[in-house]
């Protein structure tokens, strides 16, 4: 199989001994024909410097053999193909064969099967729940949708970049995904509720009076917006330290949170007001409190 890099079994030892005993002649790169010869080779080996080497490939009474299969890649699909091939062999030959997968490729396989889909499901569910909670909090589905935009764009952009860069949806990213939802939506909730509070205080008719809306937006961007930017920059700066970590997962987490913070803040301060201005007719006609 092309995904398999190397196999090690007792036959490798036997072949090697055969060749060495025949003055390193490549003609003898083979398993000898008789069981007695093989037994005597292994016996010879058991008298050598490190007989315990054999313990990795045969059990103590020479009843069971072990074949090591090493994969060239950590890819879960490679592991799956080896598992399938073993199952197929076991179906065709009735041997007492036992496959014990291990290592990173197997971990990735289990991860994909067991954990990843649950993570993705949880993530999608969280997206829906966040929208519902926004709608309840704002008392308006329209405002909830508008407030949802910075979150959605941040998530789409970041995962787009992750996918485009060819990085796998691995453990740190999937763990962060649910976390990121809360962080990304935080700023827009803040922004929208302060804006609506301001509009209510000044009693401006934002639906018709564009300048009043602009004034309220400018106030929100200047006052609570300053706090939002400070918050984002502070968080981004703090987490950017992780970019210099020696471990890749740390770098991933650092880069993820830094970009998440900055993008959701920028989208909230720049994109959200623009959206509110553009959609003011639709937003303020109905669903406006009081």
């Amino acid at each position: 199989m092309p995904v398999v890099g190397k196999t090690i079994s007792v036959s490798d030892y036997v072949i090697r001994i055969n060749r060495v005993l025949h003055d390193d002649d490549p003609k003898f790169d083979a398993v000898p024909d008789t069981a007695d010869t093989i037994a005597q080779y292994l016996f010879l080996f058991s008298m050598s410097a490190k007989p315990s080497d054999l313990d990795n490939v045969v059990d103590y009474p020479f009843e069971k053999a072990n074949i090591w299969v090493q994969l060239k890649t950590w890819d879960a699909a490679a592991m799956q193909s080896v598992i399938d091939a073993t199952a197929e062999y076991r179906r065709l030959h009735s041997t007492a064969l036992d496959l014990k997968p291990a290592g990173i490729a197997y971990f990735n396989l289990v991860w994909n099967h067991e954990v990843l889909w649950d993570m993705v499901k949880g993530f999608l569910l969280a997206l829906v729940v966040v929208l519902v909670i926004l709608a309840l909090d704002f008392g308006s589905l329209k405002w909830a949708l508008v407030g949802y935009v910075p979150l959605l764009f941040t998530i789409l952009l970041i995962y787009g970049v992750v996918g485009f860069a060819g990085k796998d949806f691995d453990m740190p990213i999937s763990v962060l995904s649910s976390l990121s939802l809360g962080m990304a939506v935080d700023f827009s909730i803040h922004f929208i509720s302060r804006l609506r509070q301001r509009l209510a205080e000044t009693g401006a008719d934002a639906g018709r009076d564009l300048s009043a809306l602009k004034e309220a937006l400018l106030w929100t961007a200047a006052r609570p917006g300053k706090g939002i930017m400070r918050n984002a920059v502070l968080f981004a700066a703090a987490f950017s330290v992780m970019l210099f970590a020696p471990l890749t997962p740390y770098i991933t987490v650092g880069a993820f949170i830094v970009s998440m913070m900055l993008m959701s803040a920028l989208l909230t301060i720049l994109y959200l007001p623009a959206l509110i201005v553009l959609m003011r007719g639709w937003l303020f006609r109905t669903g406006r409190p009081k």
């Binding site: 005993l21 000898p32 008298m47």
Partner: protein, 267 residues
């Protein structure tokens, strides 16, 4: 005055007698070890025995070896030759091993692989390497040299009803153990127990003489165990049909007989 003189005389007598008594009762450590090596490894001019060896791993799984061992002593320098023929396991029957042991330098070793009818000289760069995969080293089987270690008599004590000298030996050159304590039978001179320790003073291996029998004038350890305390692996060895001075000749210990076992001795 009278009393004083009596005391002085008795003190004098005691002072004179004490070293003489000590000498008679306690030979030096080197003498004890030397006699032990002599009794353990050099008994008779030659020896023939059947050897049954069980290698037992920590899980209790067993590998067995059945062999005939022939030994001959050559001269006063301490040179010896060993011929070992494997009767079993059956699929390795006929495999045989020849060791020419020199006390002052590394052994010469050859092995015969019967299916290939091939005699192969095997690397013998370390007397401390395992003997046929067991917990015994080549040196444990054929003996080490008195001068390889420094010896000190620690105490005398009774072990399993036998009087013993307890000797502590430290190798002069760096080897796998840093210290060895031996309980040597004070009358038969055989080691009844040995404990090996590493540089951190942790126990490495323990040798026990499980059965000691007399054959003619020689005492022989006919059952022994070497246990590796760090791996949990152990080796049990039983000698049967032990015979001394049977009249082995030097030519048996050559490549010719390695290829073709001397049927008079190997049965």
């Amino acid at each position: 005055m009278m009393l004083l003189r009596q005391i002085a005389i008795s003190l004098l007598a005691a002072a004179a007698a004490a070293p003489a008594l000590a000498r008679a009762a306690e030979p030096s450590a080197d003498e004890i070890v030397s006699r032990s090596l002599e009794s353990f490894y050099y008994a008779g001019n030659d020896m023939r025995t059947k050897v049954q060896m069980k290698l037992i791993n920590p899980q209790g799984k067993v590998r067995e070896r059945e062999m005939t061992m022939l030994r001959i002593n050559l001269g006063a320098a301490g040179d010896q030759r060993y011929y070992i023929y494997f009767h079993g396991p059956t699929d390795v029957k006929g495999t045989s091993l020849l060791v020419w042991k020199y006390p002052v330098k590394e052994d010469d070793r050859w092995i015969f692989v019967p299916t290939l009818r091939l005699v192969k000289r095997i690397a013998a760069d370390d007397k401390r390497s395992s003997f046929v995969g067991s917990d015994f080293t080549y040196e444990d089987v054929s003996g080490r040299d008195l001068s390889d270690e420094t010896h000190a008599l620690v105490r005398k004590e009774s072990l399993g009803g036998r009087p013993t000298y307890v000797i502590e030996s430290k190798p002069k050159a760096a080897v796998d153990y840093a210290r060895r304590v031996s309980w040597i039978d004070a009358e038969r001179w055989l080691p009844l127990k040995e404990e090996y320790f590493d540089v951190r003073n942790e126990a490495l291996r323990t040798f026990t003489a499980d059965k000691v029998e007399q054959t003619g004038k020689h005492w022989t350890i006919t059952a022994r165990t070497m246990k590796n305390l760090q791996s949990g692996h152990r080796t049990e060895v039983v000698f049967r049909e032990v015979e001394y001075d049977v009249g082995l000749t030097q030519d048996i210990f050559t490549e010719r007989y390695l290829r073709d076992a001397p049927s008079q001795w190997v049965r």
